[in-house]
């Protein structure tokens, strides 16, 4: 019996330290009241100053260009431009939510609990992790939209010519390399496996590489590389350290993706500056 209790110390709430405690009324209730009032007043003021948008009535025949999801989904819409749709829209976010949900089961010790940045080097890991996420995400977006090749050419006169054209963005790896014909249709099943609507029998390897292979390698590889480098440097020692770097990188990447999708994607989802953003409404194909 006793061992059963000892074996699960995690379920035990912390002991209370009564002389360190204050009364909830008034100390906490007062703060909650003030916070609620501040938000109520601010939101009333905001609502008085700024109206919620209401455009023309919905019309399935008139597609705005660009059409955008609600802002908190624009990170996924941005990912969608760079890889297979199912991967960007569903698989990546689902896997990330599962990973995030599993954080506490991976990092189980009590160190640094209940204090902001309570472990050694936590601030450094947060800053560096965020920077890696920020710069890495921007870099990848710029590369994949062909902007890096454009800058190199236009600003520095550096052109790879036709030899390096395949490096212009991820899609050009599929289009600009002399893939042998057979690699574009590799039969990997002797029958056509029909799951619901799609059939699976042949693999277009270059397309697979560009839409799934490389994105997967980047999404798994870059964070792993970052944590490995930090471990080599002696910055990441505990599981908590690894999670801080990973989570901070995620927050930065999430922020960059949301911001790009919201403010930097113009007509045809071209990468533009926010002040160049405009929306045209037209009949599809006639804009």
């Amino acid at each position: 019996m006793a061992t059963a209790v000892v074996a699960r110390p995690v379920a035990r709430p912390q002991s209370r330290n009564r002389d360190e405690e204050v009364l909830v009324w008034p100390d906490l209730v007062f703060i909650e009241f003030i916070a609620a009032m501040v938000f109520t007043i601010t939101l009333f003021a905001l609502s008085a100053l700024m109206n919620a948008p209401l455009l023309d009535q919905a019309n399935a025949d008139v597609t705005p260009n660009p059409s955008k999801a609600p802002w908190y989904l624009l990170n996924l819409q941005e990912l969608l431009l760079h890889m297979n749709a199912g991967m960007a829209g569903v698989i990546v976010p689902t896997i990330w939510l599962v990973i995030m949900g599993a954080f506490p089961y991976f990092d189980r010790d009590h160190e640094g609990q209940g204090v902001w940045f309570g472990t050694e080097g936590a601030v450094r890991l947060t800053v560096v992790g965020s920077l890696v996420g920020f710069i890495g995400t921007w870099g990848l977006i710029l590369w994949d939209s062909g902007k890096i090749a454009f800058f190199l050419n236009d600003w520095f006169g550096l052109s790879g010519g036709d030899t390096f054209r395949f490096l212009e963005n991820v899609r050009s790896i599929q289009n600009q390399l002399p893939w042998p014909e057979w690699s574009r249709s590799i039969t990997y099943l002797p029958f056509n496996l029909k799951i619901l609507d799609q059939g699976f029998q042949h693999l277009d390897f270059p397309a697979w590489l560009v839409e799934q292979g490389i994105p997967t390698a980047v999404l798994v590889g870059l964070p792993a590389l970052m944590i490995y480098a930090m471990w080599k440097l002696g910055w990441v020692v505990t599981r908590r350290d690894a999670l801080i770097a990973l989570f901070s990188g995620f927050i930065a990447a999430y922020g960059v993706l949301t911001l790009t999708g919201t403010a930097f994607r113009g007509q045809g989802q071209e990468l533009v500056f926010p002040w160049e953003l405009k929306v045209s409404e037209g009949i599809p194909g006639q804009e």
């Binding site: 909830v24 009324w25 703060i31 700024m50 059409s67 819409q77 209940g114 619901l196």
Partner: protein, 258 residues
């Protein structure tokens, strides 16, 4: 000797009640007040604890908490404010429901009417919209604060998981509400959003069809999104919030260093 006795007596004699004391007595020690609140006004430690313990709403709290947790910089009230947004959205949402009919013929006209002819209609709509945005942001920031204070560590593992579920529910609540104005913004955002969901391998197309009640956004989508938005998802969110709050208490209040 004599002087000493008088001083002691002066201390022990209660001072004559002032007008304020009399009003206080009339207000808080009468039969009706006590039938509602049981305790007097919370001006003594005993009453302050009783008011928390005997009031169904305040009773979400313990009667006493650790000193560090009332510091604003520990939580920035982010979880509490997320909940407050949820409450505010419920109130403004119910008000909007009085005027809004989720049919393709009426939805857009009702929105225009809410903005132009309903008393405070525009204000209610604005409040509902901005609070929804605020809630998404607040919940996300709350998650960040929980992470960076290491508050998901044992014994709070499961409450973190409940939190992740609440995050998803918050996104879904906001997403389903987005279609209801039935304007171009709503229609195309939901078209894009459900296309994203529909791109999932194997289950995607079915999920999309199930969400929209058809192959594209139409009358059936509107009623589905409406039902999810006003009852299905809020109910789920309320249940998970109840679990979330209950677990905070069961896990011994907020996390602090061992």
């Amino acid at each position: 000797m004599v002087a000493e006795v008088t001083i002691a007596m002066a201390v022990e004699t209660p001072s004559k009640p002032t007008i304020a004391d009399k009003i206080y007595d009339k207000l808080f020690h009468n039969y009706v007040w006590k039938s509602v609140f049981r305790t007097g006004y919370p001006n003594t430690p005993r009453n302050q604890m009783l008011v928390i313990a005997t009031n169904v709403f305040l009773h979400l709290h313990p009667t006493r908490i650790h000193r560090t947790h009332v510091k604003i910089t520990h939580t920035y009230c982010l979880g509490g404010l997320s909940f407050f947004m949820f409450l505010g959205l419920t109130v403004t949402g119910i008000l909007l429901m009085f005027y809004y009919v989720p049919s393709v013929e009426r939805a857009y006209l009702d929105m225009q009417n809410i903005q132009t002819t309903v008393q405070f209609g525009q204000l209610m709509r604005n409040m509902h919209r901005w609070m929804a945005h605020a809630m998404v942001i607040l919940v996300f920031l709350h998650m960040m604060r929980v992470f960076y204070t290491g508050a998901y560590k044992p014994p709070r593992e499961f409450n973190w998981v409940v939190g992740v579920i609440l995050l998803v529910l918050t996104f879904l609540l906001s997403f389903t509400g987005y279609l209801l104005p039935w304007d171009q913004l709503a229609f195309w955002a939901i078209t894009v959003g459900t296309n994203i969901a529909g791109s999932a391998p194997v289950l995607g197309p079915k999920t999309r069809f199930w969400l929209l009640g058809g192959f594209e956004v139409g009358p059936d989508s509107l009623i589905r999104f409406y039902t999810l938005h006003v009852i299905g998802l809020p109910l789920l969110a309320a249940i998970f919030m109840a679990v979330h709050f209950w677990r905070i208490r069961r896990d011994g209040g907020l996390a602090r260093p061992l």
